[in-house]
């Protein structure tokens, strides 16, 4: 069993230890790669580019890495920021389909367990098939456990647009998963 902590591996990376990078990469590569692939579903090359850039950022930040909180949470923040930066370069994450932003039932709150029971493979495919705006909002909400306002600030959307997109995302996922 690999007993060296992530923080210790980061210290070794800062000292130029290439083997330490291989170890930390092997531990977390699936999380970074999967997240980037979902964010850029349908564009595997861009997802891979963002995943690679995330790892390069980890290397460059190793010297100043403080180890506050878990390494995994910090790593995923780096990945998320890289993905958001790339999404912003593409232009505003706004839907071209006005029905996505139509009124949603009063009191709607996204529940945390809505995906818990489904198979991971099926859910991946269903998420990939969502329209980009719904997918981006859903991933930010789930990965970061952020509020509607926080997600809106990151994507340049009003909080009620975020809420509407989450509602549509849940509806779409339900439909897609029921059909499978």
């Amino acid at each position: 069993m690999d007993e060296v902590s992530d923080d210790e591996l980061m210290r070794r990376i800062a000292g130029g230890d290439e083997a330490a990078f291989d170890r930390i990469y092997a531990r977390h590569k699936g999380a970074v790669y999967g997240y980037c692939q979902r964010m850029f579903a349908g564009n595997r090359a861009q997802g891979e580019e963002i995943a690679q850039e995330t790892w390069m950022k980890v290397l460059r930040a190793a010297e100043g890495y403080q180890g506050k909180g878990t390494f995994r949470a910090w790593l995923m923040t780096v990945a998320r920021n890289e993905a958001l930066q790339a999404l912003r370069k593409k232009g505003p994450v706004l839907t071209s389909d006005p029905t996505e932003l139509e009124e949603v039932p009063a009191g709607f709150e996204m529940e945390s367990s809505f995906l818990g029971a489904c198979e991971a493979g099926e859910a991946k495919k269903a998420i990939d098939e969502l329209p980009e705006a719904q997918r981006a909002v859903l991933l930010l909400w789930a990965e970061e456990e952020a509020t509607y306002e926080e997600i809106g600030a990151k994507l340049g959307l009003a909080w009620n647009s975020v809420r509407a997109l989450l509602y549509r995302a849940r509806q779409n996922l339900r439909k897609k998963l029921e059909k499978r």
Binding site: I13, K29, S113, A123, K124
Partner: protein, 119 residues
């Protein structure tokens, strides 16, 4: 179970071997570049200048202490650290080349009206 835990399971995806190879190669290159970059800086005029300045500061501190008889180098070092870095760099270079003798160094210090050592 938190939302994040749910999603970690759902989102995880093993990258293809080709991607692994690419990232590992890029990481090795990045780490080597950082090492080479540091070495290049050490050998650059700026790095060498700073090295000489450090040597000069230490040299001045020792000389100062010897002349003023003020005990261990701490006080002399403090004085040397307050001197003009350009002057130190120049002094270090000249001393290195054998051009500047200790006597000349103190003359320069006098002209700049820095504290005069005891004779």
């Amino acid at each position: 179970m938190t939302i994040r835990k749910d999603f970690e399971k759902i989102l995880e995806q093993e990258p293809p071997a080709a991607f692994d190879t690419r990232v590992r190669a890029a990481a090795r290159e990045e780490m080597r570049n950082r090492r080479v970059g540091f070495l290049a800086w050490v050998l650059s005029p700026a790095g060498i200048g700073l090295g000489f300045a450090g040597l000069a500061a230490a040299g001045l501190a020792i000389t100062w202490d010897r002349n003023v008889d003020r005990g261990p180098g701490t006080e002399g070092m403090q004085v040397a650290q307050q001197l003009d870095p350009e002057m130190l760099r120049e002094a270090a270079l000249l001393a290195e080349l054998g051009v500047l003798r200790e006597h000349d160094l103190w003359q320069r210090l006098e002209r700049k009206k820095w504290p005069k050592p005891k004779s």
